[in-house]
């Protein structure tokens, strides 16, 4: 309020004191952080919506003058080769394993129970390779897999799709 600018004020500390993590060889304080980011999927929203509807949506450059018209999965809205806006296309929910790893020691916040198989999937008609995880089975390069979608209780993340042996 305006009148506050004319008053003398006694200021009270309302923070939470930091604890000392270490005292030697120098003071080291524990400085906690807790925060949330509001993150938009922007023009890629149809892809994430598509997962909750059981389909893999990619983007395709249909510009006849594009030097390298490609199908992108992960999708991107604008073609990097001709700068035209691309079109959404549904791509097959089957593919073959291009490469893989077993994630044994993961960073904090990992949402799958470790260890789990992370796989990169080549899909016919798609120019890129698509990363995901294998929900069951043991991967090999060249193995056929099919997509499994989390249509119930979606996570609203890329984890709404995973793969199982075909």
């Amino acid at each position: 309020m305006a009148e506050n600018y004319e008053k003398a004020i006694k200021t009270k500390y309302i923070g939470k004191p930091l604890t000392l993590h270490d005292e030697k060889p120098a003071w080291v304080v524990d400085s906690p952080r807790a925060m949330s980011h509001i993150h938009t999927y922007g023009l890629l929203t149809p892809f994430f919506q598509g997962l909750t509807q059981g389909k893999l949506m990619a983007t395709k450059c249909t510009n006849p003058k594009c030097p390298h018209p490609s199908v992108w999965l992960p999708p991107r809205a604008d073609c990097p080769d001709c700068y035209e806006r691309m079109k959404w296309v549904k791509v097959p929910s089957q593919g073959t394993i291009y490469t893989f790893t077993l994630v044994d020691y993961a960073g904090i916040g990992v949402e799958m129970k470790t260890p789990y198989w992370q796989i990169d999937v080549a899909i016919k008609g798609v120019d890129t390779i698509f990363k995901g995880y294998l929900e069951s089975g043991k991967p090999e390069i060249g193995m056929k897999v099919k997509a499994k979608f989390r249509t119930e209780n979606p996570t609203h993340t890329i984890l709404d799709v995973c793969w199982v042996p075909a």
Binding site: S31, A106, Q118, I119, D120, K131
Partner: protein, 455 residues
């Protein structure tokens, strides 16, 4: 882009020659409670000013500096925006202009590139390049997660939340395509960690057996803990000059050539393309190779590194890398990233990378030894400092000062260590030319730099 226009392949040309005269660094550690970040950078900066046999006093050099470039990987780790302003003030360099550079793991190389551009353009004739990272404010697994946000947060980060899980698929594909086995990867870890035992500043030196490497804890199959670099706190700096200033400051300046390349953040987005050829490669030589592995660069190789080498070799007039380079410092954040790069920079043709190690060329005493500094596996990866520190290690080799900076007991004392009884010099005899690779992401940004004896 997967095809190039003529302008895209222009070879960079400095307007003025660029030289490096001095380097400095801190000891590297996992945890550094004794010092604040700016105090660590001061330590590296003062070492650079005081210990490189320069012909002007530290304060005279301070009076000569007219631009500064600072490398820092992630504000997350420092928990401080505009560190550059704090550091620059702490070094007493206001109001000279400074810029902060951020290109992931290639931040150090990119910082040297930006400093070199300032010299080459005439904007500056004496430029400080310094870099740092303090990865010790968070626990290791939180640090793993922070680093994994340098994968695509929409499509990749959630798949592992640790960077080894983005390199491991490349390792498995490389092994499938080019017959790489666990033993060769282990040899690289053993070699670099052993060389780190001769480096007073090394964070994780050690003499390991192949069995120890391959039985160390799995991070992401097939990469074990001993095949992965550490998280580090520390800083490094180098001084760049134009020709006149370089010889005023030093009797032993080295000339700098450096260029960069980039590629998609997600490996998966890398569409197949023709291989840009290095000066020693002949058109058509990869015909059979491409028939078997039609997706180059795929998950096996790095276009960014190849493109950087394509430019730098032509800038520096290098015709046969393995013959003309006396040593290299490569970005061995993981054993596999080291192997992948051998083909990219032409130490071997693509598909024959493994031979660089098994032939002995990669070892001290070999044709073109790599990572005598201990590399990222053995010595450090304080990310924003890494590419700068690598260049300092190359500088000291070319200046014939390996022993001065690694053998003098005072450096071991500074690091709180005792110089090992079995310490041996890793000075490459008559080294005239060294190359270093600074590398980000899964190959998103790469610089290739060459330092050449100039006296």
């Amino acid at each position: 882009m997967i095809t190039f226009g003529k302008g895209n392949l222009r070879i960079p040309k400095w307007s003025k020659r660029v030289f490096m005269v001095a380097g400095g660094c801190t000891p590297f550690r996992k945890y550094y409670p004794e010092y604040k970040l700016e105090e660590l950078v001061m330590m590296a900066y003062k070492m650079m000013l005081e210990e490189n046999n320069l012909k002007l006093s530290p304060l005279e050099i301070k009076d000569s500096i007219n631009f500064a470039v600072y490398g820092e990987f992630a504000d997350h780790f420092q928990d401080q925006l505009l560190c550059e302003a704090k550091i620059h003030d702490y070094l007493g360099l206001d109001p000279l202009y400074n810029v902060g550079i951020k290109t992931g793991g290639a931040t150090g190389g990119a910082s040297v590139l930006m400093g070199a551009q300032a010299i080459a353009s005439g904007y500056a004739n004496c430029c400080l390049v310094a870099g740092w990272e303090r990865m010790d404010e968070v626990d290791t697994r939180t640090g793993n997660f922070y680093i994994s946000t340098a994968a695509c947060k929409d499509f990749e980060t959630r798949m592992g939340r640790i960077y080894s899980s983005y390199y491991a698929p490349m390792a498995n594909r490389f092994a499938w395509a080019y017959d790489l086995n666990d033993s060769v990867r282990a040899k690289i870890a053993i070699k670099n960690r052993h060389y780190a035992t001769m480096n007073p500043n090394a964070q994780q030196p050690g003499d390991h057996t192949e069995e120890e490497v391959l039985k160390s804890r799995m991070s992401a199959y097939p990469l074990r803990f001993l095949e992965c670099c550490a998280m580090t706190a520390g800083a490094a700096s180098v001084l760049l000059c134009d020709e006149e200033m370089a010889y005023k400051l030093s009797d032993h300046p080295v000339e700098v050539f450096i260029a960069g390349g980039t590629h998609t953040l997600r490996v998966a987005d890398r569409r197949p393309m023709d291989i840009p050829l290095l000066p020693n490669e002949k058109p058509g030589m990869y015909k059979e190779f491409l028939a078997k592995n039609p997706r180059w660069p795929g998950f096996e190789s790095f276009l960014a590194a190849r493109f950087a080498a394509y430019l730098t070799y032509r800038m520096a007039g290098i015709q046969e890398p393995i013959e003309e380079l006396d040593l290299v410092e490569l970005h061995d954040a993981f054993t596999i990233s080291d192997v992948q790069t051998y083909g990219d920079i032409g130490l071997r043709p693509y598909g024959q990378e493994v031979d660089y190690v098994t032939s002995g060329d990669a070892y001290f005493g070999g044709k073109c030894p790599s990572n005598l500094s201990g590399g990222l596996l053995g010595t450090m990866h304080a990310v924003g400092a890494t590419g700068i520190w690598q260049s300092a290690e190359c500088l000291w080799q070319v200046q014939n000062k390996y022993d001065q900076f690694h053998g003098d007991a005072k450096w071991w004392k500074r690091a709180g260590k005792k110089k090992p009884k079995n310490w041996t010099s890793l000075q490459v005899k008559d080294a005239k030319q060294a190359l270093w690779v600074s590398h980000a992401g899964v190959g998103s940004h790469v610089t290739v730099g060459i330092l050449r004896k100039a006296w």
